[in-house]
Amino acid sequence: MFQYVVRRLVYGLITLLALSIITFTLLQNTGGDPLDRIKSNPRITQQAVQEMAVFYGLDQPITKQYLTWAGNFVQFWNYPTAWGRSFQGPQQVQALVINRLGGTARLMFTALGLAVLIGIPLGIYQAIKQYSFFDQATTTFSFVTFSTPIFVLGLGLQIILALKLEQWTGVKFFYTSGMNSTSYADFSLGEKIGDTLQHLALPAASIALISIAGYSRYQRASMLEVLHSDYLRTAKAKGLSQRTVIVKHALRNALIPVITLISLDIAGVLGGAVITESIFAWPGMGRLYIQAIGQNDWPIVMAVVMLIGVMVVVMNLFADLAYGWLDPRVRYD
């Protein structure tokens, strides 16, 4: 078991190394130059551009650039300079990314938490009550939300739950942009919590609604498969109550495949949600790295990609370990 974990971590490091080389190479070959924007400014001299290139190390051969970046990147404890500078201003990439990490984590983990806590039980209940009115109604609802583009869903929530609801009731329930109000610092603790939730609710709900639809469908299918299995028939034939049959014999088996799905979704959390962040003016990772890609600001892109890579490696390992914990047939040797 310990050996297995060590081996997997070594593979993970190799994967990350490969990921960094491939991403770096791709970014170097996307066309354009990180200093394009500066070069196009007629008031900046050729001389100044040259100095900037030297400053950022862009005059060095590509391999050298990569090695310098990689050497610094792994020394992540050298905050905030370890991950290099953004080409767009004075910011250090590490500070920028970590700053966005908080916002992204708040939004994405809330959404994911809601999706798991609602989607999984929903799917299980749908399966138990297969073809009932409840099943049909919630399944239809799932299909509708799942096939609604997130920007429609986000805008819809803004219009109905923020704009219209405030017009009808005169009370402001939800905010449509940002993580907190501007006067947040002056609030009492209670007000701070309220303000945070009012900002968080709609963007988190937009993402969660779609995930709930996905998870419940997946969980429903997995649960149905188990419900029709031979060992469940055995459990019933023993005279066990419906409750024991479901809770003891069905649930654990039905959760096994869903664990992988959730683990990989957790891995994707750090990527943020570009569209939702844009609609709700949420300062998250998604917007950060989409902007960075557009501006050839590769130190930011590399940092975000590597963070996601680390999460994927870790969560994959976690999923495999969780699998073994739930299913005795899985062995690590």
Partner: protein, 337 residues
Amino acid sequence: MSEPLLQVSNLRTFFTTEEGIVRAVDGLSFTIHKGEKFGVVGESGSGKSVTALSIMRLIEAPAGEIVTGEIHFKGQDLLRLGDEEMRKIRGAQIAMIFQDPMTALNPVYTIGNQLVETIMLHQEVRKSQAVDIGIQALDDVHIPNPKVRMDDYPHQLSGGMRQRVMIAMGLSCNPDLLIADEPTTALDVTTQAQILHLMLELTEERDTAVMLITHDLGVVAGFCDNIQVMYAGRLAERGTTDFIFDNTFHPYTAGLLGSMTRLDEVREERLYSIRGAPPSLINPSNGCRFTPRCDFAQDICGSKTPLPREFGDGHWAACHFAPDLDLSRVKRAERVG
């Protein structure tokens, strides 16, 4: 014959599908006596398993439904029991083991866990006593090292071992009736013989009645006192094993017997086979359902349903021409052993 244990009368179990209503069991009556070894034989789709699941009341609603009938078990009609009362019968008084031991045990719990669960459900014992009973049950089915095996997961056992565990589980609460639904079909031949022998030994010891469902006449021959041959959801023929093997009145039974291979026989010609395939049970035609495949069919067979008639000594056959057909050219096999 001793007192009746299970009396099924006029059982009809139908399934609603998109194509129509499947009349899986269509008017079946039979009796199993205390300690009797009762074989139910027929092709796939003849209604054997559905009959068993109907007795256990494990027909999956809403698609499946017991439409009419009575199932009297020790004097009470199982079809009139509440869910709670029925649960007390399942596993305790009527136990069931299934065809595929590879999938019949829950993969995520140990053998011991699943065994003890059953025992504690139906017997007023403490956990430690239940564990002892469980170990004894595994020992009874000749599982070596039963104490150690209690902690094994199903995937750590072979198919034959798993079926032994199923038998141990089924018999752990001393049921009056054990329903074995093709218990040896998924096993290789040597294991089959061992499992059958084991079942016979244990149920003889305890005077447990067995309803053995199979499509293999060879299996029932050595095991059962009486055989019921089913075709398309109905009774074809029923009688003592000896009588069925020696004196069948029904062309279908004769066909089944004729298509058996025998070791002690040098065969010059091809093995007999019943032509055609079992009929669809959605809107079945009037008359005898075996008509299209029967070598002896006449006009009346396609229009009038032959009701089961008794020919004495518990021998029943559902054929218009019983007992007058000369089935010798079809039937070749004689009972071995």
